[in-house]
Amino acid sequence: MAPDDSAAAVTDSGLDTGTDTAIDASIVAPEVPVDKPATSAEAAGSEHSSPAPPQPAPPIDPRTQLRLRNEGDHLVLLMPSGPQSEAEGGALAWGELLQHFRQRLNGGEPFWQPNTVVHLAASDRLLDARQLQALDDILTAAQLRLKRVITSRRQTAMAAVTVGYSVDQLEAEDTLVQSPPPPGKPLAEPLYLQTTVRSGVEIRHPGTIVVLGDANPGSSLVAEGDILVWGRLRGIAHAGFGGDRDRYIMALQMQPTQLRLADLVARAPDSPGTDYLPEVAYVGNNAIRIAQAQAFARQHFDATLGQGAQPTDAF
């Protein structure tokens, strides 16, 4: 199975040799120019694009979910921007936002001590006292304490003061406004989830996602970094969301509904295989390719070894 051809492992063209495995994942999005991976992000807007396989990567921004960031002695709860009022369907979006946040907290191994202080970075989002309370409840259940609200909206500041948080009011144009990052910005810390990612759950993260458990059909993982699933990957996984093709999707059992790497899309073959070994999906020759983890590791991660003399089969 694994290509033992040591000559291939020496050069970079060895990328293509590990493809003789279970999934034939070679459907490339034809319309997408090869050297402009950012084009797929331009169509951003609708979140629920139907997953029709041979299309460019769908427009989902991984920064549209609530997430926690470690700041040393406290955590910051980052809120996606978007001043949605109840009138324009904001109430529904708010409910989903909380839902996703709860699912994320449930699955996460807490990396904080009980009673850690949280600062809410609400950017330009409009929040009322009830919504702040809802957030507080969720955080309290996770043994976190909401202390401070940082916002650029006057009404949000007023609401926060009324409920009894200390408030930092910022100018509207501030670094906390999370527009898509300028190129070169480091990725967020990896998100570690110890849970079954179930149907309907969508995890978005501007960094690497590690899932200790299965990702079930109907789930979706969207990361700007890599995606590692220590279990079965049966949903949709999209790594390198920002357009970075040097990202990997790894799973103990690769049975995805769909794989997306940067601007490329591939789907599983119609007739599934029977036995599965750990596999890695990567981009080679402008298509998504899948290799067995062992063979892949030999070729890619031991590049330095590969530069030395190669032992022959006789040894």
């Binding site: 839902q99 309907g200 079930n216 109907g218």
Partner: protein, 266 residues
Amino acid sequence: MTRIIVMTSGKGGVGKSTCTANLGMALAQRNQRVAVVDADFGLRNLDLLLGLENRIVYTALDVLAGDCTVEKALVKDKRQPTLGLLAAAQNRNKEAITPNQMKELVAGLAPSNDFILIDCPAGIEMGFQNAIAPAKEAIVVTTPEISAVRDADRVIGLLEANDVKFTKLLINRIKPKMVQEDQMMSVRDVLDILAVPLLGVVPDDERVIVSSNRGEPLVLEKQLSLAGVAFNNIARRLLGEEVPLIDLTATHDDLFSRLRRFLRGS
């Protein structure tokens, strides 16, 4: 401590109400005080399955309006007086009630009952939100079909996110013969995906239809069918007994099916 359990599935037609009626009855037969609550406003049918349709005087909405007490609205079953039904209003829809009102209703029933089973409507909209609001535990009903399992998976995720911590799985309408011939998902396949503790497996049984039409839950039959035994076992498991799963394959594991399997090479 009253156990408040929501019976839910996401997908419709997998047998939530049938399971609720049978489990409620089986628990009541074991001297538990049980209240079954129909949360399917506008499409109620738990009363039909229990044969109590013509005795409903007050519904949950009357209780909330203050027209009667919750005790009074509870329809007592003649056959098992420890079983009561709180009916939903048929002339309204799911938006007629809020999650907090549902909690209020259940809180009213809690002191005088050991079990409260809430029959959840299909879907994950308002009716579902209402039904799970008061619940501490959940029984997710699914059939061994890919669509039902997918919906069950979604529902389990939603339950987790809504603080219903103890979710168990009930696999309904399994056809042992088809499983043996590899034409239907097995119990193991379903558990593989859903990864929640199994409460029980109920075989497909035509007598369920008869019993529904008559309004007599299967567990009331003198000569229990296999499905009736399965429901009884589930009730016992809910009460903390350790009951092994019944071997559904026994009747189908004859010489011919063995031969067929041998020839198929599995």
